[in-house]
């Protein structure tokens, strides 16, 4: 099994799943790449760099050559999952519908191959070799004997001389039978005054006995059906017609056999091309997936991360794109945050609703995106690859397993520590916030001291000030409401409803992080936030007294 960079929960909580699922993948082959997405690990920086260069190339190309890529997208959308059929071609006989589907796919591949090979960027750049396709011109010629270049398919006469002659023979027989019957119909009408329908039938009412008797004595017709009202007569086939019908049956049988042979030989011909066909599927998948990353980079304004040897994560004006797209829907904009994380322990402290958790997630998301070969949501990013990334966040209580939220957290922490190895990125949100502050602080401090000794990048968010007292811990503080104009805020609050109050907090909150040197005095803004959100004055003033 391939090694895993981060567990499912971490990828989900960090917002990486959101990023992957918002990729606009157009082919089933691209979907396959997405499903087996692999991260790059320390030591594979060169390979990652190549991948990022390909994204950069496609991003630039997409921006400049819109028409070209629009037509590539159209071709992508025509492609249907056919790898199973391709594999079957070698030993089974494909149906006409399956051959039709493969012909469609091959036509699309040939179109794409020519387009990609012929591509020249404005400075003469070419499409990277990994995306170029193998030629299928020969097998296409076999499937398109009329060289029409159309997507249509049929077991054309050109596939077999026998097929042609059998079909012609059948047509002639049909005509002869028709002609013979027409002669009989005419004779009946001219000589006996009997008119038959185009289906060679004649219905006579039983009340018309003389005509019934007349019909009964006419050898050219016979009784076909009868009910209590009428009798239906039909034209009797002559010996000659019967012979022709028998011959038709034989031709039909021969046709079935010949068609099977044609399908078999076409299947074998396709089977010969199994390798280039499957290789092309894979390369198209790669191009589709990489192109989707490039399109996302354009749409979400992402930049190429700089991959470095040292284990660190530096983010300048980063944006958590899942949160950003939520805000966009509400017509608000994301206020970027910068972070510099190196090996050792960094703590984020500060105001409630100050975006601590989002900043923690941002660090995880940027690191994951970079390591999976994506462009990243920031102005500038430097990343040294991690061996392992894990995030501990949110409510892990499990009723099923009889764990409280504290219990769940401790269990998960143990697991995270077990899995960690040198070059781990560990992201922990408010450890032990679900227990008493005395023991919570003690546990947090002890964990910090433990992590200080490891070669990990550890990032904590916490409300326990004294955690930052441990020497060597970097303390990042949310700027918070410090610089807010409180008089103005109060005036605005007067008429605000519940939803507007939350927006007001966001409006006056400064989410930026600043490094606090030495022992920082963590600003106390919990009561103020509670006040803004409309908790009773009585409680607020009383709380201030207790403080």
């Amino acid at each position: 099994m391939a090694q895993r960079l981060a567990n499912v929960k971490t990828r989900n909580q960090a917002g990486f799943d959101f990023v992957v699922s918002s990729l606009n993948i157009l082919t089933p082959f691209g979907e396959a790449v997405k499903k087996n997405l692999q991260a790059f690990f320390p030591g594979e920086e060169g390979l990652l760099e190549e991948e990022l260069d390909r994204v950069a190339f496609l991003k630039k190309s997409r921006e400049k050559e819109k028409t070209f890529w629009d037509s590539v997208e159209m071709t992508f959308m025509e492609m249907k999952e056919s790898s199973f059929t391709i594999r079957r071609a070698k030993k089974d006989v494909l149906t006409v519908v399956e051959i039709f589907e493969l012909k469609q796919l091959i036509l699309a591949m040939e179109f794409l191959r020519n387009a990609l090979e012929g591509y020249r960027g404005q400075d003469g750049e070419r499409i990277p070799d990994v995306f170029l396709l193998d030629s299928l011109a020969e097998i296409l010629m076999e499937l398109d004997p009329r060289n029409e270049g159309l997507k249509t398919f049929y077991l054309y006469d050109e596939f077999s001389a026998l097929l042609t002659s059998l079909r012609e023979e059948k047509r002639q027989l049909e005509l002869s039978i028709r002609k013979e019957r027409k002669i009989l119909v005419k004779k009946l009408k001219d000589e006996k005054g009997i008119t038959l329908t185009p289906r060679y039938e004649c219905i006579i009412s039983k009340s018309d006995q003389p005509r019934i008797s007349e019909m009964e004595c006419t050898p050219e017709i016979c009784r076909m059906d009868e009910d209590y009202m009428s009798v239906t007569y039909e034209l009797k086939d002559t010996e000659a017609i019967n012979k022709m019908i028998q011959q038709m049956d034989r031709i039909d049988q021969a046709l079935d056999e010949e068609e099977l042979k044609v399908r078999e030989s076409l299947s074998r011909a396709i089977g010969e091309y199994e390798k280039p066909l499957l290789d092309n599927c894979e390369r198209i998948g790669l191009l589709d997936f990489t192109y989707a990353k490039a399109v996302m980079a354009i749409r979400r304004n992402l930049v190429k991360p700089e991959i470095i040897k040292d284990h660190l994560v530096e983010i300048e004006e980063g944006r958590h794109i899942e949160v950003e797209s939520l805000l966009e829907k509400k017509g608000q904009s994301y206020r970027p945050v910068s972070l510099y994380l190196k090996q050792g322990v960094t703590c984020i402290t500060g105001a409630n609703m100050g975006g601590k958790t989002v900043s923690l997630k941002l660090a995880g998301l940027v690191a994951l995106m970079a390591q999976y070969g994506f462009f990243v949501p920031a102005k500038m990013v430097k990343v040294g690859l991690s061996q392992h990334i894990q995030m501990l966040i949110g409510d892990t209580q499990s009723l099923e397993r009889g764990l409280s939220s504290f219990g769940g957290e401790m269990e998960e922490l143990r697991e995270a520590l077990d899995l960690s190895k040198p070059r781990t990125l560990l992201l922990i949100d408010e450890l032990a916030s679900g227990t008493n502050p005395k023991e919570g602080t003690a546990l947090s401090k002890a964990l910090v001291s433990y992590l200080m000794k490891k070669q990990y990048i550890s990032l904590f968010t916490t409300h326990f000030d004294s955690v930052t007292e441990i020497p060597g811990v970097v303390n990042l503080q949310v700027t918070g409401l410090v610089n807010a104009d409180f008089d103005k805020l109060k005036r605005e609050l007067k008429y605000a409803n519940r939803k507007e109050r939350i927006q007001l907090v966001a409006k006056y909150m400064d989410y930026r992080l600043m490094v606090v040197e030495g022992q920082g005095d963590v600003p106390k803004e919990a009561i103020r936030i509670a006040e803004i959100l409309g908790l009773y004055d009585e409680i607020i003033s009383s709380a201030k007294e207790y403080l």
Partner: protein, 341 residues
Amino acid sequence: MDLLKGFADNYKTISIVGMAKNSGKTTALNFFIEEAMDEGLTIGVTSTGRDGETTDLVTQTEKPRVYLYTGTLVSLPTKLYEMADAGLEILEMTNYRTPLGPILLCKVVESGNVQIAGPANTKDHKELCEKMLNLGAKLILIDGAIDRKSIAAPETSDGVILATGAVLSRSLKKVVEETAHIVGLYGLPEVAEKALRELIGASSPKSIVLIDEKEAELVARALDLKTGLTASRVLDDEITEDTRFVYLPGALTSGVIEDIYPDKFKQVVFLLKDPTKIFIQSQHWQQLRKKGFKVKVLENIKILAITVNPTAPSGYAFGHEEFSAAMKGALPDLPIIDVRS
């Protein structure tokens, strides 16, 4: 006279709708395909699909088998493709899914028998017809479902050929009466007044709308209840002496109007989306008409011809000429075609 060419001048898509199962719909379809051949008309043939498991059990036998000639365009699912004995060039594999695989759009290159089927929903169906017309079909024949009520809805096709037959009743008189009743309903007058249409269009499509005349002006008021059995009494209360029109969004059943005081029928016109929303028996309908009950529709259904099948599968039959003549007597303006003679 070229019957179909005449139709093709005014209608691009024609569905063949059966009054009941075994009323000779497939026979009629085959008849018109032959007719198209004789007239040298390029046609497309498709059917309104039916999805769901229960109907599929039925459709195994119900998917009509027709003899198609070279040049005809046809739609059928992949699983039926392999079973066709006609030579079919695949033009396109559509995205319309059916339990028998995606629908293929084909062109007949060797004449022969084909079992046809089309997409299930109206939107896909329209799109498919459009594709066939673009590929050169001059007229599209649609095998409508057995359930005439839902399928004959005007959006499915431009015109309808109604297949009727002895299967409806042992009494010839009753069959003719029932058929004439349906033809009468389908041909109900359309709402011509633009202002009235706009008033209805502006209200919620799910609610009953009463339109009153106040000082020579029409005023709409939506009634916040669905067309249900309980609606009747409420409706009677709501219809005042100013009320001129009542728009019913759902079905018009005997129940919906049973509690309305009959004198009110004379002053109001009931409005419906289309005639397939009417579920009132022929006899009751005639009684209502005598009391002054009037109905108009936003869109009616053009019936182009009636096909008659004098034989019922259970064994009884009518005299061919007698049946056609009786039908002709009741519906003198429509071509009556005996598909069996």
